[in-house]
């Protein structure tokens, strides 16, 4: 299914979604944080979209905002969509979890928390999976500085 039909179907669900077409081969949907869960729910359950395969969940630091990029694919219709969620607040950024919609988000959200500090409310076991528990700071953020370990060249 092409990007335009996808845009119409998803556009009908809520007004404050913004769609971006250029700069990427897939349709990009920017979703406000509070509507994340039910858009994700609709994406999976709706018959025509049927996005049931969470391909990847990436944490990104856009300089001022922190965001999560979901690449979701449909195994029946073989198309993919990119869903983005952003938040301004860098001290306690948090989004709703999607582990009960796609179980593939379980470790991915722990990784986003571990490397970016983004919390997911409702996640059963949110912990640092890669770094030590007493590691200070979130390493993949752009403003992470650690002269203790990191020799930048």
């Amino acid at each position: 299914m092409g990007n335009t039909e996808l845009k119409n179907i998803i556009g009908s669900w809520s007004e404050n979604l913004t769609f971006v077409e250029e700069g990427s081969e897939f349709l990009i949907v920017e979703v406000p944080a509070n509507e994340l869960r039910d858009i994700a729910e609709k994406l999976k359950t709706n018959k025509d979209t049927a996005f049931d395969y969470l391909f990847s969940l990436t944490g990104v630091d856009y300089g001022t905002e922190l965001g999560i990029v979901y690449h979701i694919e449909s195994t029946t219709h073989n198309h993919m969509i990119v869903m983005k969620v952003k938040t301004e607040d860098r001290e306690t950024p948090n989004f709703d979890t999607v582990t009960d919609i796609w179980a593939a988000a379980y470790f991915n959200e722990s990784e986003a928390y571990d490397l970016f500090g983004i919390k997911f409310n409702g996640h059963k076991n949110l912990r640092r999976i890669f770094l030590d528990d007493d590691w200070k700071g979130w390493p993949l953020r752009k403003d992470y500085v650690d002269e203790f370990n990191m020799l930048t060249r």
Partner: protein, 200 residues
């Protein structure tokens, strides 16, 4: 019979002066360095010990594949006495650090080294174990060299080193064992100095 080999080993005594501050963190010099007097009894014991070094099953990343290749039929290190890779440190004499040591893995390596039975030897295999290798710069979680964690006897360059160079490192370790003497045994002071390879 004086051996006329070009030994490329770093002179243990004045290691600090040579390295200067380019190499971050303090390096734990290997304990059982070369000594002078090797009695007949030492020679007999060392001969037996050097031909039956069992390595610990410790492969963290890519070098583990080359270590397995060295154990496999073509390069077969059990021709020289490294018969088998034991799983528990209690039955291993030699730990081949095959791969990167990260900050989270360093206390585990340290604990395994402490739990190994004496006499124990260490081969740091691959650029990551020698000095952090390709992950020296811009990486926040890699210990730059396993000798910040435990004293290393033989270093093997290469990323990953060929099985032949690992075999050569094993011969180098065997030469080092022949020159060991009981008089210079490690008196049981546990080595300290584990600093995650960081610039203090």
């Amino acid at each position: 019979m004086e051996k006329t080999r070009i030994t490329m080993g770093v002179d243990v005594k004045n290691m600090e002066t040579e390295l200067g501050n380019e190499f971050p963190g303090n390096v734990i010099p290997a304990a059982n360095g070369g000594n002078i007097v090797v009695t007949k009894l030492d020679a007999a014991i060392n001969w037996g010990r050097k031909h039956s070094l069992w390595s610990l099953y410790f492969g963290t990343s890519c070098c583990a594949i080359e270590m397995m290749q060295t154990g496999a039929p073509r390069h077969d290190y059990s021709r020289f006495g490294f018969e088998v890779a034991r799983v528990t440190p209690r039955q291993a004499d030699l730990i081949i650090i095959a791969g990167t040591i990260t900050v989270k893995m360093a206390p585990v390596l340290r604990r395994l080294y402490d739990q190994m039975a004496e006499p124990k030897y260490v081969i740091a295999m691959g650029a990551c174990a020698v000095s952090g290798g390709p992950f020296y710069f811009n990486s926040y979680s890699v210990v730059r060299g396993a000798d910040h964690v435990i004293p290393v006897d033989v270093y093997v360059p290469g990323c990953p080193p060929r099985p032949e160079s690992l075999l050569d490192a094993m011969f180098e370790l065997q030469n080092k064992i022949t020159e060991e003497s009981m008089a210079h045994r490690v008196n049981n002071n546990p080595i300290d100095g584990f600093d995650e390879g960081t610039t203090k």
